[in-house]
């Protein structure tokens, strides 16, 4: 008998993650792809990989999308559930660590702090105006130091001295870092300083005025960085849990939400099928000229038929699509 699976897709700024779970919420497939500015291509690529790996043994019962590209990718694959990242991450973490109280999630362009109590989200915070607490900050600094980001964490653990780097702002961190290099600190020391700066910034910015209680779970792409984990543990003085699927938790959450939706409603999935890649799927934008707001309208066509439109403030275009 074919096993039933639920697909979760998390399209973020830096990575696109695709997972498949079975009815007992076990992950049977997971893929972490760098988005590289091409969200649709990476979703198509990921789905293709999924099909090749397990497509002939499984039947897709539901699909959920999340992440900043959730709407577009949701239309592409025919998602049953399109959910925000906060709900998706919290759902995924709760399914493995039911008593979790604090989730740190650091992704490419945003970071989140989610507080839970008795298995429900009671508060959350996202980074505000700046990116100095996110993966992009580390990416950028790794590039400057000429170290592959994958080795960043290990190097941080080799540090022998403490270096304090101003982490308030990416630009100032950089000039501070140059100064510290000139003082003769090693690369490892500086990397450790950067990790601590990021964590300090995260806790100050997002955790301000909030009570952080264990168990702590750390997830998102940056959780691969052992230096950051160490810095978090030092800052809050408590061990931190990193789950095996830390980098695809959003996608797992989306898949679980899809599963629960299908179970609850008994509906059949809107999944377009694995052969959707063969269809001509093209999003485009144009400026509406109806009024002086000149809204940028996103229009999605499937085989030359417009299937979705959004981006208008007044709803003129969104409502023009029936069904």
């Amino acid at each position: 008998m074919m096993e039933e699976i639920y697909i979760g897709i998390d399209v973020g700024s830096v990575s696109t993650n695709i997972v498949a779970i079975n009815e007992t919420k076990e992950v049977v497939f997971s893929q972490y792809i760098r988005t590289g500015g091409q969200p649709l291509e990476s979703v198509k690529y990921g789905i293709k990989q999924l099909e090749q790996a397990i497509g002939d043994k499984m039947v897709v019962k539901g699909v959920g999308t999340t992440g900043s590209g959730r709407q577009l990718s949701g239309i592409l694959v025919g998602a049953d559930v399109i959910k925000n990242e906060i709900t998706a991450h919290a759902t995924a973490t709760l399914s493995t660590v039911p008593d979790v109280c604090t989730i740190f999630e650091i992704g490419g362009q945003d970071s989140k702090l989610i507080l839970l109590k008795d298995q429900i989200v009671i508060d959350f915070a996202m980074n505000t105006v700046c990116a100095a607490g996110t993966g992009s900050f580390l990416d950028h600094q790794a590039e400057r130091l000429g170290i592959p980001i994958e080795k960043f964490g290990e190097m941080a653990l080799q540090a022998k001295k403490d270096v304090r780097i101003a982490g308030r702002c990416t630009v100032f961190a950089e000039s501070d870092m140059i100064a510290k290099q000139q003082f003769g600190f090693s690369k490892a020391d500086i990397i450790k300083g950067l990790c601590e700066a990021l964590v300090r910034n995260f806790i100050n910015n997002l955790g301000r005025g909030k009570k952080l209680e264990p168990p702590f779970v750390f997830q998102g792409g940056v959780a691969a960085n052992r230096g950051i984990k160490a810095a978090f543990e030092k800052e809050i003085g408590h061990p931190i849990i990193i789950l095996p699927h830390f980098n695809v938790m959003g996608a797992i959450g989306a898949a679980i939400l899809a599963l629960e939706y299908i179970m609850d409603t008994g509906k059949t999935t809107k999944f377009r099928g694995f052969n959707m890649m063969e269809h001509n799927f093209s999003p485009s934008t144009f400026n509406c000229t109806g009024c002086s707001n000149c809204c940028e309208i996103i229009q999605v066509e499937l085989d030359d038929k417009v299937i979705a439109m959004w981006g208008d403030r007044c709803g003129k275009w969104t409502n023009s699509i029936s069904s």
Partner: protein, 321 residues
């Protein structure tokens, strides 16, 4: 030809529109409002205005430019105080100066001062403004009385439902009236929340009588009128059992909010820790960030109730509502 007086649609316009319209129309002039905020108005405002001002003040500048070549006189009053022992924020007190400094080629500006705290009456300031249009004192005073009547009618505050709604959710949205009413600036926030099936109450609905008992317990008297209104409404709503969550709509660079908001969130933790979200509006035009926060916030509220009812351990019940 009748004189045309232009009133920019920004800041205190949203609260006192009817008063000034009735007043000027009774004096026999044509009143022209700028259109609702749109992309051009915002763009022009950002270009013209002092960098350090808050977003609503910048947008106000855009409205002024929109009217500048269409009217004979522009109405930008210097509202210092409208209540005893209270002031408006420095941006509003100095609005005519800021505008005159930043926008060139202005028509003549009606910029007289209303300072209730100092003078203890409104009429003097309003009559001085009237004299810029007409020399007939009795006509101006009549116009003033007529406008006041309109204001009294407006002040019949809406009845706020206080019974717990089992089927839907009630959210209180608090913030400066201009932040809540300018739908371009707040990206249709209220419409979005209502579209999700939530009932929305705002800080503009709460009368002084309701806020007074709470404000009188605040250790130091809040001397900003707008800050008092917001804090009072926030304190009032957090004590109402039917409120499922509170959203504070602030704007980047607001001095009043920077003090009121942290105080309110502290109080909320002590009194009744219900879901609370601060939305800080800025020049961003992308809606994704706002939508994600809003959706997560609404999910959080639904999730809470479904858990209280022991329907599902997590997530599951988020759709059926």
């Amino acid at each position: 030809m009748t004189v045309r007086v232009g009133i920019p649609k920004g800041l205190l316009f949203y609260e006192y529109e009817s008063f000034w319209r009735v007043f000027f129309e009774s004096l026999g002039v044509e009143v022209i409002f700028s259109p609702d905020t749109n992309k051009d108005i915002m763009k022009n405002g950002l270009k013209l205005c002092e960098e350090e001002a808050c977003l609503p003040v910048k947008i106000f500048h855009g409205h002024v430019l929109e009217l500048a070549d269409k009217v004979d006189m522009l109405f930008i009053p210097r509202i210092r105080s409208l209540h005893y022992r209270e002031y408006y924020c420095p941006m509003i007190c100095g609005l005519p100066e800021m505008v005159k400094n930043s926008v060139s080629l202005l028509p003549s500006v009606i910029d007289d001062t209303i300072d209730y705290y100092k003078h203890r009456y409104y009429k003097g300031g309003v009559v001085r403004m009237g004299l810029k249009i007409s020399s007939d004192q009795s006509k101006i005073k009549k116009a003033y009385c007529k406008a006041c009547k309109g204001l009294q009618n407006k002040n019949d505050y809406q009845k706020i439902p206080t019974d717990k709604n089992e089927k839907s959710y009630t959210i209180a949205i608090i913030g400066h009236t201009y932040n809540l009413t300018d739908h371009y600036m707040n990206m249709n926030l209220i419409k979005k929340i209502k579209g999700e099936g939530f009932q929305v109450l705002t800080s503009c609905m709460v009368s002084c009588g309701k806020t007074q008992p709470y404000l009188s317990k605040v250790p130091k008297r809040i001397f900003w009128s707008c800050g008092r209104e917001i804090l009072g409404a926030g304190l009032y709503y957090m004590h109402q059992q039917n409120i499922d969550g509170i959203i504070y709509v602030s704007c980047f660079g607001c001095g009043v909010d920077s003090l009121i908001e942290p105080y309110l969130s502290q109080q909320l933790k002590k009194v009744r820790p219900i879901p609370y979200l601060v939305i800080s509006l800025d020049e961003h035009t992308g809606e994704a960030g706002l939508n994600t926060r809003l959706e997560a916030f609404l999910d959080m509220i639904r999730w809470r109730r479904s858990c209280a009812n022991h329907i599902s351990s997590y997530g599951g019940n988020l759709y059926s509502c």
